[in-house]
């Protein structure tokens, strides 16, 4: 039984002689939604890149699914939506369905054609993010928000155990952000997917996550419990004053109610 999906212990990352992350530690358990916030340049994306093995560690240790990152091979268990995913080559000729299908590729099935179940997962993912009516359109013809949803669908199609998203709601309109948060809740409650999400949408993160990490060279993380007030943590990281107003009549942010996706008409 794996106790932690992600275990980061005293990790320091230096880039060009600059300490970007200084002895950060965090633990993400199965089913957690870890919201990661912090000022620009604070090291949020570097933190995710360290977890994904894309930047070398100066010191410390990272374990994924109980295995040291250096020996970890099962990257197919991780779905990843990059910060600048939508900034792809504007003349790249591919349809939405083709790009979402690429999410099915994994080490165990290299070179094998897609099977019926994978095709069905592709269609489900396209439906989940509300791109059904543009599935055969060229990706460069879509708006920024629609492009972002392609990459969310591509990450979901392989049914990941851990979903890592770097500012996945950037470029989404208010309606789609709402749809995205519903999707996040559905993934957590119905499919048990563990989520790590970086966002500048503080209220969105605090309402969806059960753990909050504030990154600004160092990392502080706390569980989000009913009545939790992140003002002091955020003030320490951003150097600005924050006042959070909670609407208790809308229910607790820390324990969101499961949603019925059938009632959601996202693009179908």
């Amino acid at each position: 039984m794996i106790e932690s999906i992600v275990e980061v212990k005293d990790v320091t990352v230096r880039i060009n002689n600059l300490t970007v992350l200084d002895k950060v530690s965090v633990e993400v358990q199965p089913g957690d939604v870890l919201g990661i916030v912090g000022p620009n340049g604070g090291g949020k994306t570097t933190f995710l890149n360290a977890v994904l093995g894309n930047v070398p560690l100066e010191s410390g240790e990272i374990k994924l699914f109980g295995t040291n990152l250096k020996r970890f091979k099962d990257f197919h268990l991780i779905g990843y939506v990059a910060q600048n995913a939508i900034q792809f080559d504007p003349i790249f000729p591919a349809t939405v369905r083709e790009i979402v299908s690429l999410g099915c590729i994994n080490r165990a099935r290299l070179g094998r054609p897609m099977n019926r179940s994978q095709r069905s997962e592709v269609e489900k993912a396209i439906d989940l993010v509300g791109l059904r009516n543009v599935a055969d359109r060229k990706i460069s013809d879509l708006s920024g928000g629609q492009k972002q949803r392609i990459f969310i669908a591509k990450a979901l199609v392989r049914k990941p155990k851990l979903l890592i998203m770097d500012e996945a709601t950037a470029g989404l309109d208010a309606c789609m952000q709402d749809h995205f948060h519903n999707l996040l809740r559905y993934l957590r409650t119905e499919q048990g997917i563990t989520v790590m999400t970086v966002s500048h949408d503080l209220s969105g993160v605090i309402c969806q996550a059960n753990k909050l990490a504030v990154v600004n060279r160092q990392l502080h993380y706390v569980p989000i419990t009913p009545g939790f007030d992140p003002s002091q943590m955020l003030r320490d990281a951003y150097g600005e004053h924050f006042t959070f107003i909670f609407h208790h009549d809308h229910g607790s942010c820390a324990a969101p109610a499961p949603i019925n996706l059938d009632a959601d008409d996202g693009g179908r």
């Binding site: 894309n54 080559d89 000729p93 290299l110 509300g130 013809d141 708006s143 996202g266």
Partner: protein, 300 residues
């Protein structure tokens, strides 16, 4: 009127036709990946190395396609090693190999003296010089390369689109990159007899660049590139035969005309589209989302 039936009565043309089909197929398929990876120079670098290999073969009286293949493969591995280990940028590595191949060819050509006519046909291509032995090599290399691409098509598309995502999906990107460059070396050797070392990179670029003007899917682009490549090579070979032109030159000029036509048709189509009302779709729920103006797209 062109008598195609009569033309195919010539054995040399039958061999040239088969070699041309192989070359068009392989270059068009690989070309789509090369163009989208913005690695168009790789074909140029490997082709010049192959030219050096041919000169070695002619001097040593060894079958030139073998020496061309060996030198092209060695160069491919050196390019991959230099760029992966970040000793130099990949285009610098290609430039180094490009110069090395041409320098070897030039030095050996002056030393060899007597093989300048043979060397000329390897530089610019000739439909008269495809032998049965050449054809066996050409068909074998084409078959191996096309089987590899058809098996690992998805993985190659993902690597072309987003290498980091490919790595996270468990694709061994370094192995695949080396394997892909080896396939490019195969394509160069396959095409060198028909198109010539100096022009082979055009056959890797032009069909893909033309297909990208009007295809919206990756699969569509690959199929269109194959059609453009086959038509270009066939028409170029016929022109070469009837007007006694250097085959490679004729093929590339036909290809450039096709590319210009594709760009022109695309521009006309866009002009017509601009005069229509902007397209709208219902992206989610009741909200209507307006498409971005197509003018944001760049030409290939």
């Amino acid at each position: 009127m062109v008598d195609l039936g009569g033309l195919f009565a010539y054995e040399f043309f039958q061999r040239a036709f088969l070699a041309g089909v192989c070359s068009a197929l392989l270059c068009s398929v690989l070309g789509v990946f090369i163009v989208l990876k913005r690695a168009s120079l790789i074909g140029e670098g490997i082709a010049h190395l192959a030219f050096g290999g041919i000169a070695i073969g002619l001097v040593l009286a060894v079958y030139p396609l073998y020496t061309a293949l060996i030198l092209a493969l060695i160069g491919t591995l050196i390019i991959s090693m230099l760029s992966r280990s970040r000793i130099v940028y990949s285009e610098t590595a290609i430039g180094l190999m490009f110069s090395a191949g041409l320098a070897i060819g030039a030095v050996l050509a002056t030393m060899g003296g007597g093989f300048s006519v043979d060397l000329y046909s390897y530089l610019f291509g000739s439909i008269l010089t495809v032998s049965s032995q050449d054809l066996v090599i050409i068909i074998a290399l084409t078959a191996v390369a096309l089987v590899f691409v058809s098996i690992f098509y998805k993985e190659l598309v993902l690597m072309t689109f987003d290498e980091r995502s490919a790595r996270l999906s468990g694709v061994p990107v370094v192995v695949f990159e080396i394997a892909f460059n080896v396939l490019v070396a195969f394509a160069v050797v396959v095409s060198i007899k028909i198109v010539g070392a100096l022009l082979v990179s055009a056959l890797l670029i032009i069909p893909a660049a033309s297909a990208m003007q009007f295809s919206r899917s990756f699969k569509g682009t690959t199929l269109s590139a194959i059609i453009v490549g086959l038509c270009t090579v066939m028409v170029g070979m016929l022109l070469s035969f009837y007007y006694d032109l250097a085959t490679g030159g004729a093929i590339v000029i036909v290809g450039l005309v096709v590319f210009a036509l594709c760009v022109g048709v695309r521009k006309l189509f866009k002009l017509g589209k601009k005069q229509m009302a902007p397209d709208t779709i219902c992206a989610h729920g009741m909200q209507e989302v307006r498409f971005e103006e197509p003018s944001k797209e760049k030409g290939a």
